[in-house]
Symmetry: C2
Subunit: 585 residues, 2 copies
């Protein structure tokens, strides 16, 4: 008597993985570390008293975004989605010691594009159906629209009377300029050290703007002095950082006492520096840093360990985990080797890639080419609950940083502009071939969420013989219909990605090639997704049905593109795992 | 620290329940009981050697239908769906001792409407897009179409040169007539003892046709003598059966030595008689009987115990289970009291109903009104894996036999003809009210598959305040589009159900009332369903999306209306359980 293996045993391990709480430190004020954790089932804000270890929950049900925490204010500023996932948000304020949240209602629900908090008032970018806006709000509930533009913009900081951020203001989709809005003068200024360069993530103190730029080659951290209209190199007491060559800067800012800290990244792993001195951390990825006098609170994860917060004594370099949870041993033991490789795409381009082997799969064994979202993002050596779920389910995972990914220089990032679903698709196809040639993969499925879902749809119709199955989460099947359904921000995004070549939309939309599909496809889509809307995917499904293709569809209710509740993550992951269990055996 | 309860723990119990094998005896030949079991993950045919207890598997991957087994032939005749669930079948033959199956290819794939086997050749009814047909096949592979008609028909037996069955031949949707096809004369004859009566399930031996009829009041078992053109009462040696009053006859036939056996039913429970003598069985439902000399092999189940096969010694009445599996204790212990009740619908009609309480729910607690399919079917005291899954998940279940259900007399059954989704919907709504008044239900969801899915769609838009959630499996949202997508058989079915009142279609289609929906709805639908097609359901989903209703959609790939694999049952049940866990708390 042969019993079919229990799928719910696999699901149980996945649930145990997904429910393992993550912890990310986001700031410090009034004796408390502010952090985000999934410990009660949604990505909520908490604070930890550094003296008593008391933890207080500040938000409920999952926040959407967060303003920087300022040590001079006991207030924490964040948003909730108030539209069942449609990403229309309102701003809330709570005291770091908890209490009743206050909702700022005078600004109606909007898609928020970055927030700043100077300790007294709040600044933010927002998109409506028609335009991008700058707003200033007070914690007591006042709200004022400061500025409106049709350019794509994103607020990254607000201090000393200036709102700063980045945007595409000169019409070049490959470039980003810095903007500075002077509240007193009601003056909006755009700055770039060099036309066509990428300038990002500005932080502002007084007249100084700390930002990264590609104006002089590789990404570089520089200071723009507004008063002097001059560029300066940041000054550091120590020179530990000089021995590394970073391709990107994950984050940086001034400490309260005026020292500059930064996290540098190369090939998906990071190093942390305060005033030029390295803060030793384990191999992997440090994603945030909070400095409190002689202590640093650093959030760290890898592809096989979830985010936890280390407290590092900056005098002794001793570190300990102050917020963190281990994976259950039966889960952790299924996560195998993780490593970084490069393979060549057909046109010779090297594709930097992370691989995680499953201890629950033979070699060669069933393998998944995991396609990240963005596309301007990457799979680095940090935690991805989706990727880890696949490994625990018994699949080796190959996660290519296809052309257009971040993390490998600006030239590499720009390679998909004007060609999404073109060269990058070839890179992803080559990942499957590489995995087979290496003796890693027996069968290969393609899977991704968002842009990764788009690539999954397209790869299964444009390279139908390469895959054994596909799982498309929150994907794109029809750019034309998506454009019609998008707000100003996402229309801008599309025009930038395609470099205004709208004639390419048709060729890069799987809906025009459905008849080529040969393998079973599992589609998982949030009901209220406003980035990658459901409607064109339902039309795709109608076509699959007409053509008698094998497909599975799961629409997840009351959620949007960004998933904040563990239960909803489960609703995305579990159907995929059940599907793969059947079609990738 | 509060941990959200693990949904996969609930799923694990459901999987354990669904994987508990079921056993149904279907015949005997050459020293072997032929039975159907899910023991290897699909509803396959097996045979059991009564001397050695050796079990042999005869089919693989799940059969679709089965001809009667004849003791004079060692062959077993059955069909597989060869269309990924679209219910186009081909006939296969295997030896009762196993070996290589033989496929009869000369009759192309068709929707099979009943099969007979006289021990030498096979007779069957089949529907194409256009018509209903009668066929005769030989185990060696020959196939001949005998007859074609536009009337709805169903073959129930074939012996001694005659194919018999039932159908609607006189245009009265409330009546069923018997047909007899004489192969030698190539003559098709329709018989009814009385115009307008319901005559069903004929079995034929020589000139005698054993069938049930409502020609003389309640359902009665009679014999029609073809040669004499006369009706006769069946004769029994014993008169145990006389003390019971049955509303319906589940099954009956002659034994090989010429005795008549039957299973009588009243209020969802049965009694078994051979030659008029009662074969004592536990309370519940005996669904099939195989007589082998002095032994009877009886399949028995209840709402809380899965089907098993008893061997009963007809001389001593001793019985023992020869094929069966117990539910795991942790599953069985969650199944509470089961009982039969009646409540009154608003128009005063009494609605016979089964209730199963959950030991994993408080009282009052979350409750599901489970709406059976058909509509000419019932929830009796027999095993329903869907219903049991809900009870194990922690819901009390109320399963009304709304007007139109079988089991309560022909008058009751006919009450939905010309009014589906009318009076029967009121009965279902009244079930929710009854459950609350009784102190059984706190919150109430409605759930059903097939006609039950139709009722769920309709109930949630026509009585939107009664429910807290709905789960519609393989349901109907739009009769008009469904008619267009149906084959001849299902078009006939619809015209009969609606009594040709096509003007009612609009009012009985949820798609025309979507805006009324107030509660979350979970939709589960097989991809290749040809009875209740997916397309109108996808159009319904488009409307839900436009109107911003909360919904969940799960399309199950490569399967049709009838589910034969345990893994696919899981794919239907698990999303429902996860959904209810969130919305019926």
């Amino acid at each position: 008597m042969i019993l079919t293996s229990a799928i719910t045993e696999k699901l149980r391990l996945i649930e145990a993985l997904i429910r393992t709480p993550t912890y990310t430190a986001v700031g410090y004020t009034h004796g408390r570390i502010v952090y985000v954790s999934t410990v009660e089932g949604a990505t909520d804000l908490w604070s930890l008293d550094l003296k008593t270890n008391e933890k207080i929950k500040l938000s409920e049900g999952g926040i959407h975004s967060l303003a920087p925490v300022r040590s001079k204010s006991p207030l924490v500023v964040y948003t909730y989605d108030v539209s069942k996932g449609r990403e229309l948000q309102q701003v809330f304020v709570n005291h770091v010691e908890g209490g009743k949240e206050f909702r700022i209602e005078k600004m109606g629900p909007r898609r928020v594009l970055g927030m700043g908090f100077d300790g007294e008032t709040i600044a933010l970018g927002a998109a409506t159906e028609k335009a991008m806006e700058l707003w200033r709000l007070t914690p007591s509930g006042e709200a004022e629209k400061l500025y409106e533009t049709h350019a794509l913009l994103f607020v990254t900081d607000y201090n000393d009377g200036r709102i700063v951020g980045q945007g595409i203001f000169k019409g070049d989709p490959r470039a980003f300029e810095i903007f500075m809005y002077d509240i007193k003068k009601a003056e909006f200024k755009v700055y770039t050290p060099k036309e066509g360069s990428v300038n990002k993530n500005p932080k502002v103190r007084g007249d100084l703007v700390l930002f990264t730029t590609t104006a002089f080659g590789d990404e570089k951290l520089l200071i723009y002095n507004i008063a002097k209209d001059e560029l300066e190199e940041p000054k550091f007491t120590h020179d530990d950082y000089k021995k590394y060559k970073f391709t990107e800067y994950v984050d940086y800012d001034w400490t309260d006492d005026g020292r500059i800290w930064f996290i540098g990244k190369r090939e998906g792993r990071t190093k942390v520096f305060i005033d030029g001195k390295e803060v030793p951390m384990p191999e992997g990825f440090s994603s945030s840093l909070v400095v409190v006098e002689n202590k640093a609170y650093i959030t760290h994860s890898t592809l096989t360990s979830p985010p936890r917060v280390y407290e590092v004594d900056l005098r002794t370099s001793e570190r300990r985990v102050i917020l963190g949870a281990d994976l259950p041993p039966e889960v952790a033991s299924r996560l195998g080797k993780r490593y970084f490789i490069k393979y060549r795409s057909p046109d010779g381009l090297e594709i930097p890639t992370y691989v995680v082997e499953s201890q629950a799969a033979p070699k060669p064994g069933p393998t998944i080419v995991y396609v990240h979202g963005g596309p301007w993002a990457e799979v680095a050596d940090y935690w991805s609950v989706l990727l880890a779920s696949l490994v625990v389910s018994g699949y080796h995972v190959v996660a290519p940083n296809f052309r257009g990914s971040t993390g490998y220089g600006e030239e590499f990032r720009r390679l998909d502009i004007g060609d999404p679903g073109g060269g990058d698709l070839q890179d992803v196809v080559a990942a499957a071939k590489w995995a087979k040639e290496q003796g890693l993969a027996s069968k290969v499925a393609i899977m991704g969420y968002s842009y990764g879902g788009f690539m999954t749809f397209l790869a299964t119709v444009k390279a139908p013989d390469v895959w054994d199955a596909g799982v498309a989460g929150a994907g794109i099947t029809d750019w034309e219909e998506m454009y019609k359904l998008s707000d100003a921000f996402f229309r801008q995004f599309m025009d930038i990605l395609f470099d205004n070549k709208r004639e390419l939309w048709k060729d890069r939309s799987a809906i025009n090639f459905v008849e080529n599909l040969k393998v079973p496809i599992c589609i998982v889509h949030p009901q209220n997704d406003t980035r990658t809307p459901l409607r064109p995917v339902l039309r795709y499904v109608m076509k699959l049905l007409e053509l008698g293709k094998t497909f599975e569809l799961h629409v997840v209710p009351d959620v949007g593109h960004a998933i904040r509740r563990i239960d909803d993550v489960l609703k995305i992951v579990m159907p995929a795992v059940i599907f793969l269990d059947r079609y990738l055996k």
